[in-house]
């Protein structure tokens, strides 16, 4: 019988109370009457009968409760709307940030068995760089010698101008070894990807796979695109396939893939020509550690074999999924933390709102209890109320999340092979469902249990009097303090991050950003390789641009400042050494000093506003026939020629020896937040190799608003080279602004969260005090009747508010300091205990406390003692 009694527990308590005893007796009689064999059947039948009917009874009750709840919630539309909006804000914020963090940090990359994909680098830790792209010969040795990989493939970014399809357009693509797309495990949506058989014919046939986006924009999604040709930088490629729309590799903006062919002509036999990105797919069962151990051995062997180029280097690898910049990770986690704060505040507010409502309904519950409703039915009814509200809030929250996701898209790093926006899928929706249910349950249960515990005759009296117990008051005050704590943490975080943003913006980039127009004309080497073809182009464009009204000066450079695109070379002595990869002997000592190389046309420094500290600028007299010269940055001069006049000194870099003719100020190349290597600027007219660094970025200093010059400059370039697309038109202010864009986005989102948090906390304080004042109106009335002054009554209300705000601020400040220390990496040197920020947060919290208590205090003072005490 114990078995049947246990089964009966599946029924709601109310049903069990009503019929349980009878059911038990009926079952017992059936049991007694049954034969031994029939007893087993009776047990099975009873289990099925109970499970089925218990579920139906629960469903019946839930249906009744939902109907009752909807009716009663519709009777109080203001309350219902407030609760739904508060829940939607909390759930929406959390859903959006969690989806984003899941998308960027957790979810597997969109390739089959992507956990087996690893990225490999050369490890130059001893030279100060932990991860350096390998050279083609090194990659080929790795490929030949390693045994842990199913495939080891290489790729590199490549861009070209697409012509013959309307206006010339610059496309971003990748050059990949034939097995790369096979290794990634994704099939082409149309046609095919590359095969090993393509390799020998690649040069003649030039197969190309294009992205879904390019297929739609340039080929109007025509199904017979396979076999058509595409001209890039004047070279024709045959399209062999189109990848699916959700295929992104190596980054989101890649529009085509062409075959990577190593050739001596491209310097691909040089082990210092380091430009390849290498990905591998581990064999089944091989761990990252196994592969790393093997690659380290291979790296050590290569370093022994080629000491000149590889001495002190090794190989390193890491799962591809982990390639999220630490700062991007921290920014996202910060937002997740903030959204949890908002959710907690929303939940505490919900709990308080629901508790107010429950307290207000105590008389109703007492009446229902008096006519036979059991406590569990009342608790169930209140839970139904809160779940209905939470689900309405959750639904609205999903709308809020979906609407706000595009605003957060800037926080998804472009360099990841994933879509810009997280998908709205079952994972996100089920996450929200769990969140919503927990919110509804947790914060509906608290008020329900507290109120129903005392639903008896005393509650009837209590309800009539409208008083609240001390315990309930304490719980509600604690909840409000928790809201204040969370909002203080958010305000302080926003303050610290604002300070950090200002500090980043204060960094001197080394040039003037105002009225500086920049644009790119990528010069294809096929046509513009020889100096005598390239220099006339520069002269024609620069002369005409500088003749435009409103232009002060103009110049070309390999890549703009703040745009790190490689070009780190070892600084060598001027002693020729044919055995050295750089053509010159190394400097004495163990150090391998590195510098960043850029080629420029005359007037570059004047144009971007980088000061010439000593010596002269590069000028028109610096040609391939004159001695090779260079302008170096201040840090270069300081490092290599300390306490000496660097002018006239010589060194070798980028395959040529050069004499220093000038020293210019340092500029930032790796963004505002990172230090940069010393710079070497060389004349464009002296560039006979290193075509990768051919000047392509035009900078124009204007005395008029820079963007007004764009049409005239475009016309000049079109006249000089009609086939060249003009791309990346932007002002320097935009370029530098883009540097701080993720910070700004994060700050805006956090700021939004902080404002919501503050408002909710103020609503929380207001709600609690207003309830308190109305519950104590008789007491206040008696006090006034006995001669209490308005000031005393106001102090009673404000004092309580001050107490809660004070407690919240103290705890919040301590937690905020901890949060600040955790965020230190993104604080850019700002002290996590910054006094201004903390003082500001305290002031804002005080204002919030006062604002939340104003109305209740006003009501308290206006209590009419006669009216208030009449029913007593």
């Amino acid at each position: 019988m114990r078995f049947y009694r246990l089964l009966l527990r599946l029924y709601p308590k109310s049903f069990r109370g009503e019929y349980g005893a009878e059911m038990e007796k009926d079952f017992a009689r059936q049991w007694r009457a049954a034969s031994a064999g029939a007893k087993l059947w009776l047990i099975v039948a009873a289990a099925i009968d109970t499970a089925w009917n218990a579920a139906r009874v629960h469903a019946d009750i839930t249906r009744q409760d939902v109907r009752y709840s909807v009716r009663s919630l519709l009777r109080t539309p203001g309350f219902s709307a407030t609760v739904i909006i508060v829940a939607a804000l909390g759930i929406g914020a959390t859903t959006a940030t969690f989806s984003l963090a899941d998308h960027v940090l957790i979810r597997a990359l969109p390739f089959p068995e992507s956990h087996r994909l690893v990225k490999l680098w050369q490890d130059h830790t001893k030279r100060g760089y932990a991860r350096v792209e390998p050279s083609p010969p090194n990659f080929q040795d790795w490929q030949r010698q390693s045994t842990m990989f199913e495939r080891l493939e290489a790729y590199t970014g490549w861009g070209g101008a697409m012509t013959g399809r309307g206006e010339a357009t610059r496309l971003v693509g990748a050059t990949v070894t034939p097995g790369t797309l096979v290794m990634l495990g994704r099939q082409a949506a149309l046609g095919r990807t590359f095969t090993e058989a393509d390799a020998p014919t690649a040069e003649a046939e030039r197969p190309m796979v294009i992205s879904d986006r390019l297929w739609r924009t340039a080929f109007a999604a025509t199904p017979d695109v396979v076999g058509q040709t595409l001209a890039l930088d004047g070279t024709s490629y045959t399209i062999v396939g189109v990848m699916p729309p959700d295929f992104f590799f190596p980054s989101r903006d890649t529009d085509f893939w062409r075959m990577l062919q190593f050739s001596a002509r491209n310097n691909d036999t040089d082990r210092t020509n380091q430009y390849l990105e290498v990905l591998g797919r581990l064999k089944n069962g091989v761990t990252v550690e196994d592969a790393l151990a093997e690659m380290r051995v291979i790296g050590a062997d290569l370093a022994r074999l080629y000491p000149k180029e590889l001495e002190g280097t090794s190989v390193t690898l890491a799962p591809w999924r982990e390639q999220v910049a630490p700062q991007a990770r921290l920014l996202l986690l910060g937002l997740v933390g903030a959204s949890i704060c908002v959710l907690l505040i929303a939940c505490t507010n919900l709990a308080n709102l629901l508790m107010s409502r429950a307290l207000g309904r105590r008389t109703e519950f007492a009446v229902r209890a008096a006519v036979g409703a059991s406590v569990d039915r009342l608790v169930r009814q209140m839970l139904t109320d809160s779940l209905i509200l939470a689900f309405a809030g959750g639904t609205l929250g999903v709308v809020v999340a979906v609407a706000s996701l595009p605003l957060l898209a800037r926080l998804v790093p472009t360099a990841l092979p994933i879509a810009e926006l997280p998908p709205i899928d079952l994972r996100m929706l089920s996450g929200t469902l769990v969140l919503t249910t927990l919110t509804g349950l947790a914060f509906g249960l608290l008020p329900a249990v507290r109120v129903c515990r005392r639903t008896d005759a005393s509650a009837l009296k209590d309800g009539a009097r409208g008083g609240t117990s001390r315990g309930t008051e304490r719980v509600r005050s604690t909840l409000v303090v928790a809201e204040i704590v969370a909002s203080v943490v958010l305000i302080v975080s926003v303050g610290l991050l604002t300070q950090a943003l200002l500090a980043v913006q204060r960094v001197d980039p080394g040039f003037r950003t105002d009225n500086l127009l920049t644009l790119r004309t990528n010069l294809p080497i096929a046509q513009y390789g020889p100096l005598e073809r390239r220099m006339p182009f520069y002269s024609q464009v620069l002369d005409r641009v500088q003749a435009l009204p409103g232009v002060q000066s103009a110049s070309y450079i390999s890549w703009l400042p703040m745009t790190f695109r490689g070009g780190i070379w070892e600084v060598l002595s001027t002693t020729p050494d044919p055995a050295s990869p750089g053509g010159f002997a190394r400097l004495e000592g163990n150090q391998r000093p590195l510098a960043l190389v850029r080629f420029v046309t005359p007037r570059y420094f004047e144009t971007v506003g980088t000061p010439m500290l000593i010596g002269r600028d590069i000028n028109a007299a610096d040609t391939v026939k004159s001695p090779f010269v260079a302008v170096v940055s201040e840090s270069f001069a300081r490092k290599h020629f300390p306490d000496q006049d660097p002018i006239g000194r010589s060194f070798a870099i980028g395959l040529a020896a050069r004499t220093i003719v000038g020293v210019a100020g340092d500029t930032r190349i790796r963004g505002l937040e990172r230090e940069t290597e010393p710079h070497v600027y060389m004349p464009a007219a002296q560039q006979t190799s290193l075509y990768f660094y051919v000047p392509k970025d035009l900078v124009i200093r204007a005395s008029v608003p820079a963007t007004t010059l764009v049409p005239a400059v475009r016309a000049i370039i079109a006249e000089a080279a009609p086939e060249l697309p003009v791309t990346s038109v932007q002002t320097m202010e935009q370029l530098v602004g883009a540097e701080t864009a993720p910070r700004l986005t994060q700050l805006r989102v956090l700021g939004g969260f902080a404002v919501i948090a503050l408002l909710l906390a103020a609503v929380g304080i207001h709600g609690l005090l207003a309830f308190n004042v109305s519950a104590r109106s008789r007491e206040i009335g008696v006090r006034i009747a006995l001669g209490a002054k308005a000031r005393d009554i106001m102090w009673m209300v404000f004092g309580r508010s001050a107490l809660m705000t004070g407690a919240g601020v103290v705890i919040g400040a301590a937690l905020a300091y901890a949060a600040g220390r955790w965020m230190q990496a993104v604080l850019f040197g700002v002290n996590p205990a910054d006094a201004t920020v903390f003082a500001g947060a305290i002031a804002v919290s005080a204002v919030m406390g006062v604002a939340g208590s104003l109305m209740p205090a006003w009501r308290a003072v206006r209590v009419d003692p006669i009216e208030a005490t009449r029913t007593e």
Binding site: F15, E18, Y19, A21, E22, M23, K25, D26, F27, R29, Q30, A45, A46, I48, D49, T50, W52, N53, A54, R56, V57, D60
Partner: protein
């Protein structure tokens, strides 16, 4: 003003509810009595489980098909802890309406050549 519910509004009746109404048609019974009566009327074909029985009773009470009665049979015949149920006038009307519905169905089945098996 409340309107009297129409018996047809509850049709078709769940089989268990119809069986309970039939079992109570001529005599007030307690739960186990209903189970036994249904078992004997159907020659053992229909055995109501306690869950089905009491869930049906709960709904039938709410729908005014049956009432719980306080007058009991003679103590020697009664287990005094038992609760007895009686069919209500509305319950009779509903049972009649259901019987009529089933009768019409059987008539239609006969007209289409589907004759019930002889017992």
């Amino acid at each position: 003003m409340t309107t009297e519910p129409r018996p047809e509004a509850l049709l078709p009746l769940p089989p268990a509810v119809f069986h309970i109404l039939l079992a109570l048609a001529d005599e007030d019974r307690h739960g186990y009595g209903i189970i036994q009566e249904v078992l004997s009327r159907t020659d053992g074909d229909v055995r109501l489980g306690p869950g089905t029985l009491y869930r049906s009773i709960q709904r039938m009470l709410a729908d005014d098909l049956i009432v719980e009665i306080s007058d009991r049979p003679a103590p020697e015949l009664d287990d005094e802890r038992r609760r007895y149920y009686r069919i209500a006038p509305f319950g009779r009307a509903v049972a009649r309406a259901e019987a009529s519905r089933l009768h019409d169905l059987v008539r239609m089945a006969r007209a289409s050549g589907f004759h019930p098996k002889k017992a």
